[in-house]
Symmetry: none
Subunit: 210 residues, 4 copies
Amino acid sequence: MSDGAPTRGRIDKREAIVRAAFTVFARRGYDQACVQEIADTAHVAKPTVYNHLTDKATLFRHALEAAADTVGNRCVAAVDLLRAPGNDLTETFNAMAGELLSACADEQGRALHRLAHSATKDFPELAESVHRRTAARLTDALADRLAQLMLSQRLRSCPPDLAAEQFLSLLTGPMEHRSRLSTYEVPAADITSIAHAGVDTFLRAYAPAG
Amino acid sequence: MSDGAPTRGRIDKREAIVRAAFTVFARRGYDQACVQEIADTAHVAKPTVYNHLTDKATLFRHALEAAADTVGNRCVAAVDLLRAPGNDLTETFNAMAGELLSACADEQGRALHRLAHSATKDFPELAESVHRRTAARLTDALADRLAQLMLSQRLRSCPPDLAAEQFLSLLTGPMEHRSRLSTYEVPAADITSIAHAGVDTFLRAYAPAG
Amino acid sequence: MSDGAPTRGRIDKREAIVRAAFTVFARRGYDQACVQEIADTAHVAKPTVYNHLTDKATLFRHALEAAADTVGNRCVAAVDLLRAPGNDLTETFNAMAGELLSACADEQGRALHRLAHSATKDFPELAESVHRRTAARLTDALADRLAQLMLSQRLRSCPPDLAAEQFLSLLTGPMEHRSRLSTYEVPAADITSIAHAGVDTFLRAYAPAG
Amino acid sequence: MSDGAPTRGRIDKREAIVRAAFTVFARRGYDQACVQEIADTAHVAKPTVYNHLTDKATLFRHALEAAADTVGNRCVAAVDLLRAPGNDLTETFNAMAGELLSACADEQGRALHRLAHSATKDFPELAESVHRRTAARLTDALADRLAQLMLSQRLRSCPPDLAAEQFLSLLTGPMEHRSRLSTYEVPAADITSIAHAGVDTFLRAYAPAG
DNA sequence: TATGAATGAGCATTCATTCAT
DNA sequence: AATGAATGAATGCTCATTCAT
């Protein structure tokens, strides 16, 4: 290779394959997805797929982990809104909650959720890995923020990871309910109302004593 | 035939097949489950399976709906504990929450949860049906109980279905978190602590005003 | 059995089965016909079919031979028209030819023709038997009539079976051509014109010398 | 690749498959033929068959049409003998008729005839296509020759396609009779005598007037 | 005798994966 | 590095046929 270009091209092709894989897996599910369709979507020949990623299973792992990182990043970014809580805590939480739900509820997020579930049987480590890159990472980040708010007496003092877990449950539980296990898209209005209701309940329960 | 017995035999065999189907689908997932294994598990020949249930898909539907009814029944029974709330509301809720989580967290409940998720792509009506027989039915039953408690001023007055949804979210969200999407069994101790924490937060948020 | 009645009922049922068999075989062909459909058509249970006729193959044989006799009878009846040849030989032959083609060209005749062809591989004796009951029997009967006409000098003298064979070929060949191997029904007008043309050619070739 | 060779290999394999398909279909009939046997006969793996020809049905269509072209070519070649009619018309017709019957009566021709008949139910377009490539094409070619002979006054003037149809019927009708619907091979001696008899009758009927 | 129920055998088709080019 | 071609392994489903009633 003269400079970085040829390598670049190869990397691009690999990325294209992984992206195509996620698209196809999202469309068909793991078992019904066929490597041929992934190759077609990536505009490559089937053996080329095997040259880059050994296995259908490997393909699946890379596709899901990449998507998990994307979703995880967006969630953490939403949580970062809590670094600058204004005077009105409710307002700040509402904003964060809205962001969070939007991040999880879009097409990619829902597909990832479904695929992660379907992976539990044959790829438990992958399900674990996705969980770590999304839910666990998000919970940790949120727990950090909540701990700060407890320190500054704006929330009742208590184990911050439990609080984080419950806050997220108040958001995702109703979402799962409404989207029928991520089957259908949830209208923006519903998302907002779920967010507000969750925040309201959370803040009532976690308001500072007195 | 002497009495209803011969018909009985047929029904028994059909039930055996449906039960076997659930077992195998739980073990392998829909796509990887093969009808032969279901037949073997039910101790019947493969065509006998087809004589009773038309399709692999039909087999799947019946197996899941039967399991959903079982799980749903146990959940509703747990909620019925709220019909006789003692003096200590916390204690009653704790008991119910424990029952509820045990019902959802056992092997069958977790398998059903996974399978329902995997069904969303190819059997959306089935996912919907399972949802109706479990989560939706449970939410409705719980909302009824909460409405009564609001009337008798033991809970703050507010839309009961929202309250029910949030209560259940406070239980199932952490469960899903801990079980890694229903992959692993959650130890009884953790179940209890999740139940208590959920009840605590819920009652704080929904305590009667003032 | 008290008198002939119960036996009658049994015979009727057997006939119904054989008739149903021909209907279904005609509709589907031998391989694609399934015994269940025959049983349904005859309004009987499947094992009843096996009680009366041992085999799918046996069913086929009886169905075809019965149909062959029916068709054969009609053909021979047509040939009998030659027993009373009027003054105008052409007219008599035309009448017979028309009858003959109508007999072979109706739904049953065409179905029998197709089925006999499909039987040659696996049931050569059956194909032979059908041939004997239809084409061969018809040829013989016609040869008898032609021999008489030769004796009475109304036709040129020559081997009568060859003449019969050729006469029938002049009728059935064009029919097979027009019906696309018995696939389609041939319009009545075409039948008449084929008949007349065949008779014309035949009588020209077999006209008495001088 | 040096020249066109590699492509050649593929074509050869495809042709081998189609040829094998005809062999097996001829041996078993459509329904009883199994793709595995075709693959074995062609010395390929079963999926290779599917790589080249989509379907069992497609396989059937290609096999029959190829065979039909072969038979059709030989028939047309036979008819071409009439382009140079010698002084003795009978002799020329006898030669052509012999050629014609040999072409239709060999193993391949008889198999094609049987298969075309069995195809009428499920592949009417195919039966039509085979008919067009053989009988119809042959009739047309013969009609052309007969028209020329009429013009040169060596045959009585009349519609040439009707004459062609009748001539062919005088040959194939008795053949079908003797071969019991193409079941058995017809001895060469019989072929000759059928040919001569057919020609004799035809020329008597179509001799120029006066 | 008539039938509901059960089964053994068979077959088309799909797909992940590997070679040779 | 990329691909056309080939294959081994699997699986859903159908159907003729037989028991037991």
